[in-house]
């Protein structure tokens, strides 16, 4: 099962490698990982997408909580939540493909943010699976480069992860 785990941790040197190291040392997988400081600069907010059985996810949560730099851990996917990921994708846009790619970007509510004679850069935001669908929809031969931020997530309504 895919899980989105949100972590609030001290914004200190090495804190990120403690989290990443824990996953590799204990054989847990990381699908995506994003991290950045919060409005309180002493804190970092980290989102990890991982997968595993209920037992594995329980262990991941417990092991993360054990790290001294970790303040709070929440499995966002346990309840109502929103996930977003940003992708920048550079595609070849020449001849009849220029129109076709533009149309496809529109359908996915993407924005073309860089244009040259032969390329577009499309910015696309959404859930991980939406970005996957876009890649599947576009002719793979046209893709020159993709870069994805990894998933960020937040709980809906009153679910708040804060110190």
């Amino acid at each position: 099962m895919r899980h989105i785990i949100s972590i609030l941790l001290e914004n200190e040197a090495g804190a990120l490698s403690r989290v990443a190291g824990l996953f590799s040392a204990r054989g847990y997988n990381i699908e995506t990982l994003t991290v950045a400081p919060t409005e309180d600069l002493s804190l970092s907010r980290l989102t990890i997408v991982t997968s595993g059985t209920d037992e594995v996810i329980e262990q991941i949560t417990k092991q993360l909580n054990k790290l001294v730099d970790v303040i709070k851990v929440v499995d966002l996917s346990e309840a109502a939540h929103i996930e977003r990921e940003l992708m920048l994708i550079k595609v070849r846009a020449t001849g009849k493909d220029r129109e076709e790619v533009k149309r496809l970007a529109d359908i996915f509510r993407g924005r073309i943010i860089d244009v040259t004679e032969s390329t577009y850069v499309i910015e696309l935001t959404g859930s991980g699976s939406k970005l996957d669908s876009f890649i599947q929809a576009i002719d793979t031969g046209l893709i020159l480069e993709t870069v994805r931020t990894g998933v960020s997530g937040i709980g809906r309504g009153d679910r708040i992860l804060k110190v």
Partner: protein
């Protein structure tokens, strides 16, 4: 008034009432060593290899419960310390290891004796710090001691670049420490404790299984009270020996790979298992699927939530400090004047006594050969069961655990988790410093002892009256045993040729050496060591039966009820 960072380091250690620092100087820690020289509150013990510094600090911690302190220089000093740190980490031993680092401006430049100490040690410490500002030294060291000694204890590394120890600032040692990200739970959940007590009272085949957590949290007294109050059978794991008196009738011995028949079968066939400060290690329960194949309710008390439901599913988890939780349990039992199911318990004990009657620890004597088990039995007699016993890793470790009956906690020091050969002598050193006047025995083998043999020199310098009981079978015994049993007796690289003459070796270091080759001389040699040479380090080299194996045995991947007994072969 300002002080240098080095002076602050020493002042912090004094504030923590550190008596002994085990270490080895080098370029990056020279400022700190200069400050050590100028004071006389902290005694520095110069070891002969940094690994031994950490092991000795660890031995001090295991034998007293205090935080052990080691100090090493950057680069090779730190990497040599890693085995010691990982050993302490696996057994949850509170340590603070201070390492020197190259000056901050040199970090990342591949400077002389530079290594990424924080990076290298990260997976085997409870926490670590790299100090980048002299103003942070005091608070960081305070945090290091706090983290090392609270919650589930563990080693903490504090890496300090040389320029930081030369920089100056005012010194103030924080009285308390508050960390928003670290707040270990102490009190167990009362509702859960109540549930657990009810389960215990209703049990028909109860069993108590306790591990290193009971020793670490100093809960032996509460454990003994609770066990006697309930009248239940109990076993202590390798890390938990001494938590409950080894000679008591309710005590079934050690469970696990080399546990007793009665302990293993009682674990396996229990209907309610109370696990305390233990972690269902693979060496204790064997195959977890086999173990879980019988229905059984498990109550698990541990300060570390991640130990609970890690290898087997637990029914009543209780996160908390063991002595506090046991106190609560005793209070509940007293308040309710409740008694366990006496009839069922009597029936259960009858079954257990049947297993016990197998006398699985019996071994055959062989003519003219010293049986290693016999040496341990005699060691127990000669020391009156009162020695602090350290061991290395292998067959001798198992025999010491099986045949020396530990009645009190903190008397048995060994590397249970990481299984580090070479810990025995440095552990004995740490214990000898911290427990003057006590008998200290290091049970080892001819292979393990050579992994830290250089410490015979340290032991001489500080006149440590350690008795080294070397069970010398000229083989890497446990490897040989596995090769005999599972690899068609192909003894690949397990025979050790060209061993030193240990008597001469001991003498070369200025100690007393005794060789024992006949069973009838075992007792006299031990008496000579412990009585006549009470104040000396004595190296007793027992030439033991080369074929002796450790039994019972649960082979790797097998279940607890699938033991191989000596008589089966």
């Amino acid at each position: 008034m300002t002080m240098t960072g080095a002076e602050i380091v020493i002042r912090c250690l004094q504030e923590e009432k550190v008596e002994y620092v085990f270490g080895y100087p080098g370029g990056s820690v020279l400022h700190i060593y200069d400050e050590l020289f100028k004071q006389d509150k902290i005694k520095h013990i110069l070891v002969r290899h940094e690994q031994a510094a950490v092991h000795a600090a660890d031995g001090l911690a295991r034998s007293t419960g205090k935080v052990g302190v080691a100090m090493v220089t950057s680069g090779p000093g730190a990497t040599n310390a890693v085995t010691g740190i990982a050993t302490a980490y696996m057994d949850s031993i509170p340590l603070v290891v201070i390492s020197g680092q190259v000056p901050t401006a040199y970090i990342g430049q591949d400077a002389f004796q530079e290594c990424d100490t924080v990076g290298i040690t990260r997976p085997c410490v409870k926490h670590n710090f790299l100090i980048k500002d002299v103003h942070d030294i005091a608070a960081t060291i305070k945090k290091a001691f706090y983290i090392a000694s609270t919650g589930r204890p563990g080693p903490v590394v504090v890496d300090i670049p040389k320029d930081i120890t030369a920089a100056r600032c005012a010194f103030e040692y924080p009285k308390t420490i508050q960390m928003r990200s670290y707040n270990p739970v102490i009190k167990g959940h009362l509702g859960q404790i109540r549930k657990a007590v009810q389960l215990l009272l209703d049990a028909k085949r109860p069993m108590i299984y306790t591990g290193g957590g009971v020793i670490l949290s100093d809960a032996a007294e509460q454990l003994t009270k609770l066990t006697r109050r309930l009248g239940f059978p109990i076993c202590n794991t390798l890390m938990g020996l001494g938590a409950y008196p080894g000679n008591d009738a309710q005590y079934l011995g050690m469970p696990g790979m080399h546990g007793t028949v009665e302990a293993n079968l009682a674990m396996q066939h229990s209907d309610v298992l109370l696990a305390i400060g233990a972690r269902f290690d693979d060496r204790v329960i064997g195959n977890p699927d086999h173990f879980s194949s019988l229905p059984r309710k498990i109550i698990h008390i541990d300060i570390d939530p991640s130990s609970i439901s890690k290898r087997v599913r637990v029914d009543v988890p209780i996160v908390g400090n063991v002595p506090d939780v046991l106190d609560e349990m005793l209070k509940l039992l007293d308040a309710e004047q409740a008694k366990p199911n006496a009839a069922a318990l009597a029936e259960w004990w009858k079954e257990i006594e049947g297993w016990r009657a197998k006398q699985c620890m019996k071994y055959k004597h062989k003519k003219n050969l010293i049986m290693p088990q016999y040496v341990i039995e005699k060691l127990y007699e000669v020391t009156g069961g009162n020695a602090i016993v350290t061991s290395d890793v292998g067959q001798h470790q198992m025999w010491a655990a099986q045949y020396y009956k530990f009645d009190k906690p903190r008397r048995w020091l060994n590397s249970g988790g990481l299984g580090t050969m070479g810990v025995g002598l440095p552990y004995a050193m740490g214990a000898a410093f911290a427990n003057p006047g006590k008998q200290i025995a290091c049970v080892t083998g001819e292979a393990s002892i050579q992994m830290c043999i250089q410490e015979l020199s340290t032991a001489k310098q500080f006149r440590l009256p350690i008795k080294i009981v070397n069970l010398n079978n000229r083989y890497l015994g446990m490897v040989r045993q596995w090769q005999e049993m599972f690899y068609g007796s192909r003894y690949s690289e397990s025979y050790m040729d060209s061993l030193p003459d240990f008597v001469k070796l001991a003498e070369a270091y200025g100690h007393v050496g005794i060789r024992v080759e006949r069973p009838e001389d075992v007792e006299a040699a031990l008496k000579k060591a412990f009585v006549e040479h009470k104040d000396d380090l004595v190296f007793i080299d027992f030439l033991t039966d080369q074929k002796a194996n450790v039994f019972p045995m649960v082979a790797a991947g097998k279940g607890l009820s699938e033991m191989i007994l000596a008589e089966d072969l």
